[in-house]
């Protein structure tokens, strides 16, 4: 009878023990139990059959089973939940078929741990394992047993053995009871046994004996399995060890690859159809390179084992089998993959979601590398790629403050006094100006241009803003002078001030770099431009641009906000003057804490920076060096961006930075805007000297700084979006490169 049922089930569904299959099996069981002849039509005709009663003596179970059955029918989710409960249970069921006695006990012991039940099941699976052995390792019994447990239980289900319980009675008598959930148990009892019997007719007796033996031994395993949230796809340690050994026989180096041909031979030995092997390969060759790493091999092996035991192959690689992309770790124990075998809908969702995440990880990873290469040119820092990575992962740090990750160099001189002075000196000249130009920055500007544009902005709009941005940049003490200026320009660029003056220089994502160069220039210019409160430290201005410039390159391109902030932070710091640095440090602190955090503080820093820059204007020789218009951009840009940015470390010396920036500019396709911006900046810079260094306009200074900060914020936001756009472009390039690479691949094969 069991065989009949199995055939019917199998005939109707190709060995795919899905839910429907299971239901059919159950129906058949019911039919059989009702004494009706097993026919396919009986399924349809006898719809109102009482639910199969696996345990004749257990009405409870039956009812439970019924409930379960119906619930399952209604509730795929619950169904899936039941499935996971595991494989352990199912295993038990398998064994339990023959354990009528056990079943009866189960009714009493419903809550009994699944382990006892599982153990019997495990034993049967082991027998299949041994039986099926890939001809590789006759001893794999233990390793495979746990797997077999989860796997085969489904097979037994499909087989729906109704009447097998009788035959299994004698066998089961010896076993301890069971099963976790009666319903399942009841199921398991009949189907598993029948399945077992069907699957291994010859080994039924072996199974029973094995079961008894295995039950004891596998209890622990089962326990472990069932307790592990029923992840049928998990590879246990024993299994893994086995796989690793197998891997070694093919490829002694555990970190190496198994070439496709060798793997093909190996897996062909498992006697699975080529189509299935092909599918397994597709699933397990994660990086699609035609070779298997250790993880991939284990996953493939595991899938083969599962298939051999009747498990259907999933459509997507189960989470627990997914190899780590970046670090080849043991991925098998990771994640709880519940029945991907298609039984549970909900679990099935998880793996697919993971798969995409992994590939995406993979995607992003190479992308990062690629983009980091590009960034390399811009950033002097060796850590640019890393920062790029960071950036990518934090792609949308809308808040520049949060995005700022760069360590802030130690402030040269902390002097709040200067800050105050700067603030005081700020004349109410328009704080908004700097920010507005920055804000305006054209969205398509490349990062570099952004920097320059920002500089221009500052230059063009208002000196004060530029200064304020530079103030904000002051956070980086390392870069003295040029860096500061650069930062300024960065900050200036980031907040595009759409409004008034000509579009402020765009804040380049990389403006950290370019900004550094520009900063120098711009700072030299901007100081003059920034009237309000910027007058404070004329002498400090020259040095500032240098640090800012230095800071520029440091700032990662990708880190828009960060870069901007960094620039701003570094530039101010660059100012050699002690007081300036103090201001910068303060400013940087503000920037780090948050652009919007304390406008007043920022304002102060801005003012300080501005003041510092002013002095540096005239004196900055850097300016001359960086006279490629960057300065202009920097000046305006830095001002707004400096508002919050802060702490990008501007390590590289200004000069190299400048060169880099220049090269970056060249690379940047939007050099044109850059030039335009430089023009703006030049104008701004020109006007800088005219900025009166008035003192004593606290309120105005504060307001100005507030405005500047706002502008900076907008510019930064804009810069951020631009950077993201650029990132997308870069990703596309990468994709195209990958495509080309893949196109070349088939040639090697064909």
């Amino acid at each position: 009878i069991l065989f009949q049922i199995m055939e019917l089930c199998g005939a109707t569904r190709l060995g795919y023990f899905g839910r429907s299959q299971f239901y059919i099996a159950l129906k058949l069981v019911a039919v059989a139990q009702s004494g009706l002849p097993l026919r396919v039509e009986s399924l349809n005709t006898v719809k109102d059959l009482p639910l199969p009663r696996f345990l004749v003596s257990k009405n409870e179970q039956e009812s439970r089973h019924t409930a379960l059955y119906s619930s399952d029918a209604d509730n795929p989710a619950s169904y899936s939940g039941v499935i996971p409960p595991p494989p352990g249970r199912i295993q038990v069921k398998k064994g339990s078929v023959s354990h009528d006695a056990v079943q009866q006990r189960t009714s009493t012991d419903q809550q009994e741990s699944t382990s006892p039940v599982v153990s019997p099941q495990q034993s049967p699976p082991t027998s299949p394992h041994t039986w099926r052995k890939h001809n590789r390792h006759p001893s794999g019994g233990n390793n495979e047993r746990p797997l077999a447990g989860p796997g085969p239980f489904w097979a037994p289900f499909s087989e729906a053995q109704p009447g097998s319980s009788t035959s299994s009675d004698p066998i089961w008598s010896g076993h301890s009871p069971p099963p976790h959930q009666e319903n399942w148990v009841s199921f398991a009892d009949t189907p598993p046994t029948s399945a077992l019997l069907a699957m291994h007719p010859a080994s039924v007796q072996d199974q029973t004996t094995v079961r008894t033996v295995a039950s004891a031994t596998t209890t622990n395993e089962i326990r472990r399995q069932s307790s592990s949230y029923d992840d049928p796809w998990k590879i246990t340690d024993e299994q893994r060890q086995y796989y690793v050994n197998q891997f070694k026989t093919i490829q002694p180096d555990l970190n190496g690859f198994i070439p496709g041909s060798a793997a093909k031979e190996f897996f062909t030995k498992s006697k699975l159809p080529i189509l299935e092997l092909s599918h397994i390969w597709e699933l397990s060759d994660f990086d699609k390179d035609g070779a298997l790493t250790l993880d991939e091999f284990c996953a493939a092996f595991h899938l083969v084992v599962a298939r051999k035991n009747g498990y259907d192959l999933p459509e997507k690689l189960p989470e627990s089998l997914m190899p780590k992309l970046i670090d080849l770790e043991d991925s098998t124990e990771v994640g709880e993959q519940t029945g991907e075998v298609g039984y549970s809908s909900s679990p099935a969702e998880a793996p697919p979601s993971k798969s995409p995440s992994m590939p995406s990880l993979n995607q992003t990873w190479p992308e990062l590398n690629q983009s980091s290469e590009q960034w390399e040119t811009f950033s002097e820092r060796s850590s640019s790629s890393q920062t790029l990575t960071q950036f990518d992962s934090n792609i949308a740090p809308a808040d520049p403050d949060t995005a700022i990750v760069h360590p802030v160099p130690i402030r040269m001189t902390p002097s709040k006094i200067h800050m105050q002075e700067m603030e005081l000196k700020r004349t109410g000249s328009d704080h908004t100006n700097p920010t507005s130009p920055l804000l305006v920055k054209p969205p398509d500007l490349p990062e570099e241009n952004k920097m320059s544009s920002s500089v221009k902005y500052t230059a063009g709009n208002t000196v004060t803003d530029g200064y304020s941005s530079s103030d904000s940049y002051a956070s980086d003490p390392e870069q003295i002078g040029s860096t500061v200026t650069r930062q300024r320009s960065h900050s200036g660029t980031s907040p595009d001030n759409a409004a008034p003056p000509p579009p402020p220089p765009r804040p380049h994502p990389s403006h950290s770099r370019s900004s550094s160069l520009d900063m120098n220039r711009s700072f030299s210019v901007t100081p003059g431009q920034q009237q309000a409160g910027v007058v404070a430290y004329p002498p400090a201005v020259p040095p500032r641009p240098q640090p800012s410039q230095g800071a520029g390159p440091h700032v990662h391109r990708p880190v828009d906000a960060e870069g901007l902030i960094a620039h701003t932070s570094t530039s101010p710091q660059q100012i050699p003057e002690q007081p300036n640095f103090a201001d910068f440090s303060q400013f940087e602190a503000f920037a780090v804490s948050g652009v919007n955090k304390e406008e007043e503080d920022e304002i102060e820093t801005h003012s300080e920076v501005l003041q510092v820059e002013k002095p540096s204007d005239s004196a900055s020789s850097l300016r001359g060096a960086k006279a490629d218009g960057r300065v202009e951009e920097k000046a305006p840009a830095t001002v707004p961006t400096s508002a919050g940015k802060g702490t990008t470390p501007l390590a590289p010396p200004p000069k190299p930075i400048r060169r880099r920036l220049k090269s970056e500019d060249e690379l940047r396709p939007e050099a044109e805007e850059h030039t335009q911006k430089t023009g703006v900046i030049a104008a701004v810079l020109a006007s800088q000297p005219s900025i009166p260094r008035s003192v004593g306009k606290d309120k105005k200074a504060i307001q100005a700084s507030i405005r500047r900060n706002k502008e900076t914020n907008t510019v930064l936001a804009r810069l951020n979006s631009e950077l993201q756009q650029q990132l997308k472009d870069v990703l596309e390039e990468r994709i195209s490169l990958e495509v080309q690479l893949e196109q070349l691949r088939p040639f090697s094969h064909l």
Binding site: A263, K264, E282, D285, E315, E742, P746, F747, H749
Partner: protein
């Protein structure tokens, strides 16, 4: 309406055919078959070392039948053919190109599989999924 076919050299027998609306399949098959000639013609015309990765031709736009046929050939002379409804004007050139690119990517993935013999019909489920998703996008 979308039909995609992959044909492999040298005999140009189809490795894979999939059409979204399942009716009138025969007509599409015929169309694809005839378009193969045009593809070959274009390939031979190119000559030299210039191997244009993708080609787009609308030459098979029958006035009556109102659909477009796009072709794409890889460096290994594997041809991909797509038949699209002309009524589907939303499909632009670069979309077609991207679809071909995706097809090509999936195809190379299949090639990497050591269990796959070049020249066999393609049974890969992953490939099917890719194609299906692409077609769903269009329709």
């Amino acid at each position: 309406v979308l039909v995609s076919v992959i044909c492999s050299p040298p005999q140009n027998y189809p490795l894979y055919i999939r059409s979204v609306p399942t009716e009138n399949e025969l007509k599409f098959h015929y169309t694809v078959h005839t378009s193969l000639d045009v593809v070959d013609e274009k390939i031979s015309a190119m000559g030299k070392a210039l191997v244009d990765q993708r080609e787009l031709y609308l030459g098979l736009l029958y006035p009556t039948e109102d659909y477009k046929v796009y072709g794409y050939v890889t460096n290994s002379k594997v041809k991909f053919v797509m038949v699209v409804d002309s009524s589907n004007t939303a499909l632009r050139d670069n979309e077609i190109r991207s679809m071909f690119r995706k097809l090509h990517n999936s195809y190379t993935d299949i090639m990497c599989n050591p269990f796959y013999n070049p020249g066999d019909r393609i049974h890969s489920r992953a490939f099917d999924n890719t194609v299906n998703s692409m077609m769903m996008q269009v329709c």
